[in-house]
Point group: C2
Chain length 325, copies 2
């Protein structure tokens, strides 16, 4: 089967995906009977670029990025990305656009348009899943296409795929996670004696933290991820603002670090629980973890989630070297 | 779809499975269109018991165990379990028999017979997979049936299912794991000041350790599990005796515990690596883990494996409260 791809956004994630598809071309063809061809790429800087003859991942990598409408095999597409989604000859849309995670836009509109026009969608954007999971899932089902979003939480660590394929008929009573790398990297440096400002500066130098770290330190990134996990795994219908954010931010981190007892480790922890009435509640907080809690011993660059299940008790997945969260 | 089951062995695992199928009956029917009926059970103590009209998991649980050929709805089956596998009206065989993990028998013969007679097989026995994975996998494919063995390592933690469903086109360069609960439980008690003999006695009291703990402490259990992981995930063709067992056993544990430096934690660790020539080597050893290694902070009852992948870097799965390994 040949799958024609339209990529919305083509930054680090898209370029890394193209390299991986190129490296795995023989394996995908021989073991999975899958070939891939890029039909188009839309980015805010290049606009819509259409590849009428298709470009293999290897060809795309070899051509280098950015391309322009003057590059060989490339023609300009329509100015409106929604029109490009409709007209581009693609089977699947890779939704990798820059987005506002607090609104999920414009990615949610891109995904709606792609699903309605009968394209499968793979998105790395957590905003649309946090804000519109039920609607988008139903839209995919109604149009007979798939919606995949594994890389919205923990950089593609197979949480949703594992739950779907390998934990059938399983109820998730809750979860606990270290989901924001920036916060936990800064906290790990503070535990080594650095100030919160030094920790933030170091995180920015290694490329973990954004220029404005408040989105991470104040728990919004973790709230969006908690919403995705709760809505997908636990059937909840939360929005990021429903996640209780308790005692977060740089000043709270400073105070909590100073108040730690010997042996304790401070982490930004996400928790979700199904209450007695069936409702799901989620919160993000700074937790002083005792030495017996193995989450205390994960470095700041690792992310982790423990799923509380009724079939397999507690299952924890740890991502070895977390990308910036 | 209704799936008729023949269970070979019906001890703790089989009875727990029946309870779980009974509890999940509505979910499996409504969400997966699956119903299950037991057609027969063979155990060494009861012999072959055939249920001509089928027994639902709920009926089986309600009847209680053990059943006899005089129980309602039960008739005696043939004395030879291989003949029972051939003649029992079953779609899938649950292979849960007591076995010798060093030879994989009699479970391997049961599985061969079941696959050849066109039955799917689900086995909890690691011996057959460690000793005959390639043969059994090919036999299943040739007969158009499935062979599943998730519970051979880490009590059903979805390792093989996750790799198959969620890590396509992924190469596993190696793995590291804490796979034997008995050894690591005894080591955790030794770290608290108990002697190795006291640790073994405590492990036996809580039901973790066998009467003869040598199989666990000397690394054979871990070697069998390492073989399963290496052969299935890495395409190796090892046998348990190929796994290097280095400095194991009660006396080695005593000496290594006494020689630990401050902050170090002793664990029985499994490692497998693909060498430069492509061959896979595996070993089990006592490792003095530094405080920065989060494996050091897992309790003795947890099991864990870190998979070294080329697509997702390091992924670790931790089982919360390990059953006796």
């Amino acid at each position: 089967m040949n799958i024609r791809l339209l990529s919305l956004g083509f930054g680090n994630v898209g370029q890394a995906l193209a390299r991986m598809l190129a490296e795995k071309e023989a394996t995908l063809r021989d073991n999975y009977d899958l070939t891939f061809a890029f039909s188009g790429i839309y980015t805010r800087t290049t606009g819509a670029l259409s590849f009428p003859d298709g470009l293999s991942a290897g060809q795309l990598v070899a051509l280098g990025w950015p391309l322009t409408a003057a590059s060989p095999g490339v023609v300009a597409g329509p100015a409106d990305p929604l029109e490009f989604i409709h007209t581009c000859q693609a089977d699947a849309v890779l939704e990798l656009s820059a987005l506002d995670p607090m609104t999920g836009q414009p990615a949610t509109d891109y995904i709606r348009t792609a699903l309605r026009s009968g394209r499968h969608v793979v998105t790395a954007n957590k905003g649309p899943i946090a804000h519109a999971y039920r609607e988008l899932w139903a839209l995919a089902a109604a149009n007979g296409v798939r919606l995949r979003f594994e890389s919205t939480v923990m950089d593609g660590t197979p949480i949703f795929g594992m739950a779907e394929a390998s934990l059938p008929a399983t109820d998730f009573a809750g979860f606990r996670g270290l989901l924001n790398s920036t916060s936990n990297y800064v906290l790990s440096l503070m535990a080594q004696g650095q100030t919160v400002e030094e920790g933030i500066a170091a995180a920015q130098r290694v490329g973990v933290a954004e220029a404005n770290p408040a989105y991470d330190l104040e728990g919004w990134d973790a709230s969006v991820k908690a919403t995705v996990l709760a809505n997908v795994l636990m059937g909840a219908d939360l929005r990021p603002a429903d996640v209780r954010r308790e005692g977060l931010g740089a000043e709270a981190m400073r105070k909590a670090q100073a108040a730690l007892l010997p042996g304790q480790t401070l982490k930004q922890v996400v928790e979700a629980t199904r209450e007695a009435d069936g409702a799901v509640t989620a919160r993000v907080r700074l937790a002083a973890l005792p030495p017996g809690d193995f989450f205390a011993h994960l470095s700041g660059m690792e992310t982790a989630v423990t799923l509380h299940t009724d079939t397999m008790r507690d299952l924890t997945i740890v991502e070895g070297e977390g990308d910036p969260g």
